[in-house]
């Protein structure tokens, strides 16, 4: 009986080797998938946009287009609809270079003002204030906020609000004044419009219902 070998299941060497193999395999798979994802989430180009080639993350010049969010029967989820009609931000169509610069300013400002520790972006951040993934498409910006800020368009209303949120309270929980300048506010608007064009696999679900209700005179129409 003394000859009997101990079971492999109680061998440290077996488990150490298995751990190394499994970890190595998982890591290699993750790196491979990362390469694939990198290709799919790089920002698109202006040419692709003009030709109507769909990218998950469109070029910064997407801010020159009208953006919608509709239920896609085939995918079974909501997806952004870009163009084909144009809807330039602040009434002026931007060149690829200008659009990129404005988006850059917006992203920098969003980080420097620490938006993410109240709001969520693509669902990540803090849960004290509304998710901003599709904020550009929020029906509140159609009539309510332009009326409150005394501006004609939603982008102008957004700029006015971002510069002085304390002047336009909608609820007891208010956004504080973060010292955002007019140019920075325009950058943020470009960032938000760009973010609303990202294909997020249907998150937030049901947001298109909110838009539709507004358009048909439902809950959000005032």
């Amino acid at each position: 009986m003394a000859e009997k070998k101990p079971s492999v299941w109680t061998s440290i060497r077996f488990w150490r080797r298995s751990a190394a193999w499994v970890t190595g395999f998982a890591t290699i798979l993750l790196i491979w998938l990362t390469f694939d994802t990198m290709g799919q989430i790089r920002m698109g180009t202006d040419e692709e946009l003009a030709k109507g080639i769909k990218r998950r993350i469109p070029a910064p010049t997407v801010i020159n287009y009208k953006i919608g969010y509709k239920y896609d029967e085939k995918r079974g989820l909501e997806a952004p609809v870009i163009g084909p009609e144009k809807q330039p931000l602040f009434g002026k169509e931007l060149s690829p270079k200008e659009a990129r610069a404005l988006l850059h300013l917006g992203k920098l400002t969003v980080q420097a003002k620490n938006c993410m520790d109240c709001h969520t972006l693509l669902g990540n951040g803090a849960y004290y204030a509304p998710d901003l993934t599709k904020a550009w498409l929020d029906p509140m910006w159609e009539k309510t906020m332009p009326a409150m800020t005394g501006k004609k368009t939603k982008e102008e209303a957004m700029v006015a609000f971002l510069m002085h949120p304390e002047r336009y309270p909608t609820h007891a929980r208010m956004m504080p004044n973060l010292g955002i300048t007019e140019q920075e506010a325009k950058g943020i608007v470009a960032f938000l419009k760009h973010m609303s064009s990202i294909d997020t696999n249907g998150f937030p679900r049901g947001f298109s219902k909110t838009i539709k209700e507004y358009e048909t005179g439902g809950t959000y129409a005032k």
Binding site: L33, A135, E166
Partner: protein, 475 residues
């Protein structure tokens, strides 16, 4: 916890320094949480002076930093015991790194408190606030952290190479390298928010759901050997099985953060499958702790002894860790990890509920346990028994965090059903849910349970400061 460390090895003295700063930052984390929680109920509280974003930023950063401090402390604590070397090769540099890091953390916190946010320029990212949840520390501090961590790692690595190479140390040395390297993935700027979050999750997820978990496995292994005299062969075999399961599920479990950030749809299946497996090792870790405890206790009694436990409070915290890790990270994580559920729950109070119980259960608990081991060494106490304060601390903190988690889960249900499912997640939908009476009730309970947690912390602080002296006097 103070002054009694002169006879300790230099490595353990340094460990105690790290623990001291960690416990202060833990207190800061709780205070900031109380402020932020109160702002949910009274939005005008400190409005325009110390806004929610500031309180919340310091709340989560103090959390991460105190845990990193306690983790480094734990490594310096076990280094002499595991390697048999009392003087890590570059202990002088290690001490210097401690002071540099502490100075840097102080400056960062002061800037967060008094400057808060900056203009939309690169200089803000470099000197004020990087504005990416958990990684808000400005870039200069990032670089400083990397340098300090390199010094720490060099100390661990070369001491390991020189001394005994136990299984625990082998796991730790490999794990720490991955942990430190991953931080680099969070140190760049991009205009592409999807790309930004892709790499941001490499740091956050591969820390808390992979490398930190393995780290905890190594700490538990060390703790069990020290506290209940568990057999090294058994503990180290378990550790390798845990590494296998934790990395096997956790690395690709990263996919559950890639459902909705612009990344391709195949992450649904990968993320769902592997993150659903993540609780498995946590069950195993729990079983392992109870099994070893029962075994050693039985043997002790058979030999006529009364208890196998040589450090009561440490064992209590290790046990809470074993169960809390499974409950907070495992069960509460699984609640909302499948894309079919997560499309509604993503970015809601559900996430906050999971976050509170998981960070506490998986990390805070065992790190507090390590502090008790450090105190035992400092005062040379052979058998450290839990005092009244230790019991109050563990009871109130655990009860408080569980209470907060339940309250936030209820708030999460309310939010998900009303804001997401019923109203479709817009601006008004958000506030309609936030203003529901049941939601407000849940947030009220969260704050009450936060206060309970804080009272528990006060007991903990008193206990850490006094238990060593008390028990040394009795012995």
């Amino acid at each position: 916890m103070l002054n009694k460390t002169a006879h300790l090895s230099p490595s353990k003295q340094l460990a105690m320094n790290y623990f001291r700063v960690a416990i202060v930052l833990f207190g800061a984390q709780l205070l900031m949480g109380l402020i932020a929680g109160l702002q949910f109920l009274y939005p005008s509280f400190l409005y325009g002076i110390f806004d929610f974003n500031v309180a919340r930023m310091i709340h989560i950063n103090a959390l991460v930093v105190w845990m990193l401090y306690a983790m480094i402390g734990s490594v310096y604590l076990m280094l002499p015991d595991e390697t048999g070397i009392e003087h890590p090769v570059a202990i002088g540099l290690g001490k210097l790194a401690f002071w540099v890091l502490t100075l840097a953390v102080t400056v960062v916190v002061l800037v967060f408190i008094f400057i808060q946010v900056g203009p939309g320029k690169e200089s803000s990212i470099w000197f004020i606030n990087e504005g990416r949840e958990y990684l808000e520390a400005p870039r200069w501090a990032d670089i400083g952290i990397v340098v300090v961590v390199l010094i720490f790692y060099a100390n661990v690595f070369f001491t390991y190479m020189k001394g005994k190479k136990t299984g625990i140390m082998t796991v730790l040395v490999a794990d720490l390298m991955a942990l430190a390297g991953l931080y680099l993935a969070g140190m760049f700027f991009t205009d592409n928010i999807s790309m930004d979050q892709y790499w941001w999750w490499w740091v956050i997820h591969l820390w808390v759901e992979a490398t930190w978990e393995v780290f905890v496995g190594a700490l538990a292994a060390y703790g069990l050997i020290r506290v209940i005299n568990a057999k090294r062969e058994v503990v180290e075999m378990w550790l390798w099985i845990e590494v296998l399961m934790l990395f096997g599920s956790g690395i690709l479990g990263l996919g559950h953060h890639y459902f909705w950030i612009g990344t391709p749809e195949y992450w649904w299946e990968i993320g769902a499958l592997f993150s659903a497996l993540e609780p498995v090792p946590l069950v195993a870790m729990f079983v392992h702790v109870l099994y070893d405890w029962g075994k050693e206790q039985g043997q002790t009694q058979a030999q006529g002894g009364r208890t196998a436990i040589k450090n009561g409070p440490a064992m209590a915290w290790i046990s809470v860790n074993a169960f809390g890790n499974f409950l907070g990270a495992g069960v509460w994580g699984f609640f909302h990890t499948l894309p079919q559920v997560n499309i509604y729950t993503h970015g809601s109070q559900f996430t906050a509920a999971h976050g509170h119980l998981a960070f506490f259960g998986a990390y805070a608990t065992i790190l507090i346990g390590m502090m008790y081991l450090g105190i035992q060494d400092s005062y040379g106490v052979k058998r450290m028994k839990a005092t009244f304060n230790s019991k109050m601390a563990i009871f109130l903190i655990t009860f408080g965090v569980l209470g907060m988690t339940v309250a936030l889960t209820i708030a999460g249900y309310e939010q998900v059903l009303v804001e997401r499912a019923e109203l479709g997640a817009g601006w008004q939908a958000f506030f309609t849910a936030q203003n529901l009476p049941w939601y407000i009730q849940a947030q009220t309970w969260r704050e009450i349970m936060g206060v309970v947690t804080f009272i528990g912390f006060v007991y903990l602080l008193i206990d850490l400061l006094t238990i060593g002296k008390k028990e040394a006097a009795q012995a």
